[in-house]
Amino acid sequence: MAGTWVRIGIGVLAGIAVAAIGLLALGTVAASTDPVTGGNTQVANGIMLVLAIAILVAVVVYAVVEYAQTGRIRSITSQFDTRTIVLIPIAIAINIILGQTVSAALKVPVYLDSIGTILVGALAGPIPGALTGLLSNTIWTFILGGTPLGSPYAWPFAIVAAEIGLLAGIFGRLGFFRSRPNTPTPKLLAGAAVALVILAALGYWGVLPAFTKGVTFFGDLTTVNSFFVVVAWLIAIGLVGAGIGLVALLLVRRDLGVAFIVVCGAICGVVSALISAPISAYFFGGVTGSGTDFLVAAFQQAGSTLSSAVLQQGLISDPIDKTITYIVVFTLLQVLSRRFTARFPQGEQAVGLIGSD
């Protein structure tokens, strides 16, 4: 067990080191960007690259350390038992069908195309989760490319999907998907406070910079079309409402697990927005053919450059989308029988032991 923590620690340190070096290097690039809009094209691209590389390095370092310690990489191969291999196609089918119906048919500004990926990550582990995401988008484009269910545009986002699965796997390993029913009220309130603080911090350092650097929402409102000021206020009210909703949900369900899930969803949403924005801007002019495009149009009209508008759109819709997805997966894991979930490689860590509640 100690060995496991050593390699996790070394892996995380390596990832943080790479990210820090990368971000420091980026600092000089950012200073030289487009002065007209304070554009964060370079920054967003850079963050994406640094994050992707840092995560990759962390995983590789982890595997290398394990190989050095035990002569095998059992912690990775053992995540792929037959059950996981059978679950992956079902998970991908769920991703594709929900992704197709929700984003293309309903035109609401969420995607809901990662329920399967997060489910596999939670139950089987980070590597199967990442693989499910990767395969999901690749199959969606290439193997279903000649059918009405295909999506030629999913493939460039495969790396985002992989990151979503990887994160879900880590959250699952840490037990964040566990239901914690009948939490006493003081603990519940403390949990809610901590969750709100984390969410606020995430919003302040992760989301807000993308908006204040540009011309839009939380900056100088006098020069902006009043229609978008209204939109901004609606979003702000929505965010506060979501916070209140979280507290209410916690008090009604009396399940501290909800707080964990919401925080996980928000983190996952911010990270995927950062990684997917430059891809979306570069490949598809910032649109995806779903309801989120309205937001991109709004931000662009309000004066952001395309890259900024896409990032701003992502930072609004992705946390919402991923939080909903995490709540759906959390609910699914509670509804599925323990006898079923506990048999997956990481099932016991993810949903807790039977009879512990």
Partner: protein, 268 residues
């Protein structure tokens, strides 16, 4: 093994109605990837159009499915194309205003940008569409397995192809049942959204609970045994195709290098 046996095994391979169908799946995959990424690296109008008219369209004609390919790519591209036109034309900042609708100015820069993105998208959707229409997923997976990919990964990929329609079928059955109980799945957005949930839940649960029995049934058939297996058939490959693949890959890397060196015109 007798000749009759060999012929029988060959007959299990999917039918290939044209020479393009008969190409090795990896060749077609490399072509699709290089064409679509190439269009993005080149940017502008000329490069992507050359790829489309000089590479993809002739291949589709030789595979005798140009009409089908265009229909499916346009069908799949339509939602995103409409978004691109609306978002780029009307909300992209620019100096040359063509006309205005309310607060939205249509700028020349916006039209130009939308045009460039649309051309690239057309290349991407036709390239992957041609691959999908001419390649049996099993042929691709067996080819990759022969080249060293894990059979388990191949299983997951091929099983998805059947899982998608069977999940839709299941959703249809459950939807019919819910509708029989008086659930509204048509009509306005909110009604539709509310109508989806009682279908999504049972579909997810019923397909997930099948995972257990499915995996036990596979384990009984030695699915968990590590190591390689001998395939009954696999798609052919020729040295000429191998050369073509390398030429495509090297050509693409050349484009990337030219882009990095600043030799290609800037992409907006």
């Amino acid at each position: 093994m007798s000749e009759a046996d060999a012929a029988y095994l060959a007959s299990l391979a999917p039918a290939a109605p044209s020479a393009y169908h008969r190409l090795n799946p990896l060749t077609k995959a490399v072509a699709a990837i290089v064409c679509s990424l190439g269009a993005f690296v080149l940017g502008g109008y000329v490069g992507p159009l050359v790829i489309l008219l000089g590479g993809i369209i002739p291949s589709a004609i030789s595979a005798r499915l140009l009409g089908r390919l265009l229909r499916i790519s346009i069908l799949l591209s339509l939602p995103i194309a409409i978004s691109i036109v609306l978002v780029s034309v009307f909300t992209r900042a620019g100096t040359t205003v063509l006309f205005a609708i309310g607060p939205f100015d249509a700028t020349l820069e916006g039209v130009d940008f939308a045009g460039q993105v649309l051309v690239r998208l057309l290349v991407l959707s036709t390239a992957v569409g041609l691959f999908g229409l001419t390649t049996d997923p099993r042929a691709l997976v067996f080819d990759l397995e022969r080249r060293g990919m894990s059979p388990k990964l191949g299983f997951a990929a091929v099983a998805t192809v059947e899982a998608v329609p069977s999940l839709i079928e299941r959703a249809g059955v459950i939807q019919a049942a819910q509708r029989a109980r008086g659930l509204d799945t048509e009509g306005r957005l909110i009604a539709r959204f509310r109508g989806i949930m009682p279908i999504v839940g049972p579909v997810l649960l019923s397909s997930l609970t099948e995972v257990e029995e499915r995996s036990l049934a596979l384990e009984v058939r030695a699915f968990g045994r590590p190591g390689r297996r001998n395939l009954l058939w696999w798609p052919g490959d020729t040295s000429a195709e191998r050369v073509v693949r390398w030429v495509l890959v090297v050509g693409f890397l050349g484009l990337v290098a030219a882009r990095a060196a600043g030799l290609l015109p800037r992409i907006p």
